[in-house]
Symmetry: C2
Subunit: 110 residues, 2 copies
Amino acid sequence: MEQQTLCPRFEKGMDMFSRRWTGLIIYQLLEGTQRFCTIQGALPISGRLLSERLKELEAEGVVVRHVYPDIPVRIEYSLTDKGRALEPVIREIQKWSADWIEPNLQADQQ
Amino acid sequence: MEQQTLCPRFEKGMDMFSRRWTGLIIYQLLEGTQRFCTIQGALPISGRLLSERLKELEAEGVVVRHVYPDIPVRIEYSLTDKGRALEPVIREIQKWSADWIEPNLQADQQ
DNA sequence: ATAATTAGTTACGAATAGTAAGTGAATCGA
DNA sequence: TCGATTCACTTACTATTCGTAACTAATTAT
């Protein structure tokens, strides 16, 4: 069967968004600029993956990294305009989750 | 550092949405009921993964599967109300992609 | 001297994804 | 009647990604 073509921009957007942790990292940064360890403390993600994702998001222009040469070094991450523009996406996922996901989730379910 | 707790419903919604192909499958089914081979033809996904994802989405109540015992068998997939409720999420990702992803994507870029 | 903090990196096994081939029932063409 | 095709999957296997744990370097605290 012939491969229909999708809009490549939409496909790329979806691809970025459907990488694990991406959405939650952006959700966290919508609260404001945060340090590496703060993000890590807020999400159940390992340092290895957080580091990897932040690099990817920086490369895509969604996140910016600021280095403050304090001791110990302080590094802050924030959203660019492109990143902040994802807020409506996150909001819609929040709405959908609130409306359609059963509230009685137990630890060992699913 | 102590693990902050996220809203478990939001976390689950995000988790579902950020599994590869989920978004694009839902996007396809928003066009209406479709057969397995039609979805496969519309997306660059293999049969193995499409089958796996459709089962997961069915288990989550996002997709329904109808079997018509024609010859050869015809199986149609459609969105439930829960699935159709994801339309605003998809729309927002479309908007964002249109606004923020460079239009000149080449095959070998990124 | 030892431990802790920050923002990572490295190593490695486990889980997930992707590719290709196979399945079974039925239909069609040669 | 043999072989090819269709549909909706499975199975087998390899490649990529994930998750855990340990490690790094500079500095401060105990």
